[in-house]
C-alpha cells in the first residue's frame, strides 16, 4: 500500500510537469493545427538558462539569499523562452502558414534538431548538475515520502494551469485565442490581428514550458541538451491522450500519463517476476500513445482531431 501511495505521489509530480509542457503543445495545435516539435527544446533551454543564471549569480552575488537567485533565474528562463518561441514562430512557421501541413511539421522537427545542437554547442555534451533549490528533507505522509521540491512542483504547476485556464476562458485575449482557433478569417473580421494572437499563443506556451524545464531539471538535479526530447515526446503523448487542442485534456492527459508511468514502473518488476525493471518506465508512455492512436485518436476530451483531419 505504501508503494502504491508513493507511486501516486511520484506520478502526480511527474504528471504536473508533463501537463505544463503538454499545454504548450495543445495550445499551438488548437490554434494552428501544428504539432510544434520544437517545444521540448524550448523547455530544455529554459532549464539551461536558469542554470546558467544561477551559476553566474552564485559566483558574483555572494550573500544574496538563494530565493532571490532562484527567482531571477526562473524569470530569465521565462523571458528567454518567450523570446525564443516568438522568434521560432516568426521565422520558421509563419512563412509556411498557408503551406501544406507536412511542411511546417517537418520544419518543427528541423527546428527541434537545430535547437538541440545549438544548446550542445553552447553548454556542451556533458550532463550538468542542477543545484538543489530546496531542502531534500522528506516529509512522510501515510508511509509515503515527498520532498519540499516535489510539493513546490505540484503547487506551482497547479497554479500556472489554473492561471492559464482563467486567461483562456475569461479574458479578452483568451476569447480572441479561442475565436482564432475556431476560424481565423472570421476572427480577422472582428478586428483581431491573428498574427499577434498566434504569437501570443506560442509565447504563453513557452513561458509555461520554461517553468516546467526548471522544475524538471531541479527534480532530477540534472540538465542536459537532449533533455527536452524525451520530455517533449511524453508531453506530446499526454496532449494526445487528453485530446489534443483541448486545454483541460492536456492537464488530464499529463497527470494520467505521470500516474501510469509511475505506477507502471513501480509494479512492472513484481508483475514480470523481476524480468523487467523500473527502467522500462518509458515504455508505458509510448504504449499509451499507441493505444490512444489506435482506439481513441481523439483522446479523452477531444473531438477536434476528427473535425480537422
Amino acid at each position: 500500500m505504501d508503494i502504491l501511495l508513493q507511486q501516486i505521489l511520484n506520478g502526480l509530480v511527474l504528471g504536473s510537469v508533463y501537463a505544463l509542457v503538454a499545454l504548450g503543445y495543445t495550445m499551438v495545435y488548437g490554434i494552428l493545427g501544428l504539432i510544434n516539435f520544437a517545444h521540448g527544446e524550448v523547455v530544455m533551454i529554459g532549464a539551461m538558462i536558469a542554470l546558467a543564471v544561477m551559476t553566474l549569480l552564485t559566483g558574483t552575488m555572494v550573500g544574496v539569499p538563494p530565493v532571490v537567485i532562484v527567482s531571477l533565474a526562473i524569470a530569465a528562463a521565462i523571458a528567454v523562452c518567450m523570446a525564443l518561441a516568438y522568434a521560432i514562430e516568426r521565422v520558421a512557421y509563419r512563412p509556411l502558414r498557408n503551406a501544406p501541413r507536412l511542411a511546417p511539421l517537418i520544419t518543427a522537427i528541423g527546428m527541434s534538431i537545430l535547437l538541440q545542437n545549438v544548446a550542445m554547442v553552447i553548454w556542451g555534451r556533458q550532463y550538468k548538475t542542477f543545484p538543489q533549490l530546496f531542502s531534500t528533507q522528506p516529509h512522510t505522509i501515510a508511509g509515503a515520502t515527498i520532498t519540499d521540491l516535489q510539493i513546490v512542483i505540484i503547487v506551482v504547476s497547479a497554479a500556472l494551469m489554473v492561471g492559464l485556464l482563467a486567461l483562456v476562458n475569461f479574458t479578452r485575449l483568451g476569447r480572441a485565442m479561442r475565436a482564432t482557433s475556431e476560424n481565423k478569417t472570421i476572427a480577422g473580421l472582428m478586428g483581431v490581428n491573428v498574427d499577434k494572437i498566434i504569437s501570443a499563443t506560442f509565447v504563453i506556451g513557452a513561458a509555461l514550458g520554461a517553468v516546467a524545464g526548471v522544475l524538471v531539471a531541479a527534480n532530477y538535479s540534472i540538465a542536459h541538451y537532449s533533455m527536452g526530447f524525451m520530455l517533449g515526446l511524453k508531453a506530446f503523448t499526454a496532449a494526445v491522450l487528453g485530446g489534443i487542442g483541448n486545454l483541460g485534456g492536456a492537464v488530464l492527459g499529463g497527470l494520467l500519463l505521470g500516474l501510469i508511468e509511475s505506477i507502471g514502473a513501480g509494479y512492472i518488476g513484481d508483475v514480470t517476476g523481476g524480468f523487467l525493471g523500473s527502467h522500462y518506465q518509458d515504455v508505458f508512455a509510448f504504449l499509451v500513445l499507441i493505444l490512444v492512436l489506435v482506439f481513441r485518436p481523439t483522446g479523452i476530451m477531444g473531438e477536434r482531431v476528427a473535425e480537422r483531419a
Binding site: A176, R178, A179, N183, T185, I186, G188, V192
Partner: protein, 235 residues
C-alpha cells in the same frame, strides 16, 4: 464624397477572373444592394472590400485608400461585415460572440451597453446568451452574426446574403432589423440573391453578372425594369 468608393475592382483566384473591374459607390446613410445570380461575383466583391481578398483597383473609405489594408484594420475604421454563412463562433457562447464583435472597443461600460442594446434588438439571443452559438438555429445564428457586427459600432455594414437558408418568416424578421439598423443611420451594402427583397429594401442597386456590373440605378426603377423582372424576379 462617398463613404465607400470602389473603382476598377478586379479579383481573380485560381486563374478565374471572378470580378472584372467594377465600380461602385455607397454614400453615407444609404442602403445599397448588390444583386445577381449565383457566381456573379457579389460575395467576392464584398470580401475584397472588407479586406479578406487581395484585389486590383481601389477601395476608398471616407476618401482614404484602404485597398491594401487587412480586414482586422478596417474594423477599427468602422467597417463591419456579416459574412456569408453567418460565421458565428460555434464553440463560444452567444455572449462571447457578441463580445468578440466588440473586440476593437476598449471601453467596458460601452461594451456592456451595446450587449444590452443587441439583446433588446434580438430578445431571442438574450434567452440563449450562455448557450454555445453552435446550438442555435440558422435564424438565431443570423441574428447573432448581425448583432455581433453591430457590436463594433460600424458606420458601414457589409451584409452578405442574410436571407440564405432561412425560413420566410425568419427572413422577414431579419430584414425588419436590417431596416431598423439603416434607419439608425448605419450605411449598408447588402449582397443578396433574393432580388425582390433586396430591391424593396434598398435605395440604389447594382446588378452583377459574371464579374461585371450590368445595371445600376434606383432600386424602385430597377424593380420596373423589364430586364431585371425577367432575369431576377422570375416574371
Amino acid at each position: 464624397m462617398s463613404m465607400l468608393e470602389v473603382s476598377k475592382l478586379k479579383v481573380s483566384y485560381g486563374g478565374i477572373n471572378a470580378v472584372k473591374g467594377i465600380d461602385l459607390r455607397v454614400d453615407a446613410g444609404e442602403m445599397v444592394a448588390l444583386i445577381g445570380a449565383n457566381g456573379a461575383g457579389k460575395t467576392t466583391t464584398l470580401k475584397a472590400v472588407s479586406g479578406l481578398l487581395q484585389h486590383g483597383g481601389h477601395v476608398r473609405y471616407n476618401g482614404e485608400d484602404v485597398s491594401r489594408r487587412p480586414a482586422y484594420q478596417l474594423v477599427e475604421l468602422g467597417i463591419a461585415m456579416v459574412p456569408e454563412g453567418r460565421g458565428v463562433f460555434g464553440r463560444l457562447t452567444v455572449d462571447e460572440n457578441l463580445r468578440m464583435g466588440a473586440y476593437v472597443i476598449n471601453d467596458r461600460g460601452l461594451i456592456r451597453g451595446e450587449v444590452d442594446r443587441i439583446y433588446h434588438l434580438f430578445p431571442r439571443l438574450k434567452e440563449r446568451r450562455d448557450q454555445t452559438a453552435g446550438t442555435l438555429s440558422g435564424g438565431e445564428q443570423q441574428m447573432l452574426a448581425i448583432g455581433r457586427a453591430l457590436m463594433s459600432q460600424p458606420r458601414l455594414l457589409l451584409l452578405d446574403e442574410p436571407s440564405m437558408g432561412l425560413a420566410p418568416l425568419m427572413v422577414e424578421k431579419i430584414f425588419e432589423v436590417v431596416r431598423q439598423i439603416s434607419e439608425n443611420g448605419v450605411t449598408i451594402l447588402l449582397v443578396e440573391q433574393n432580388a425582390r427583397l433586396a430591391l424593396a429594401m434598398s435605395g440604389r442597386s447594382y446588378v452583377m453578372e459574371s464579374g461585371t456590373v450590368t445595371l445600376e440605378g434606383e432600386s424602385a426603377s430597377l424593380l420596373d425594369n423589364p430586364q431585371v423582372r425577367q432575369a431576377y424576379l422570375g416574371e
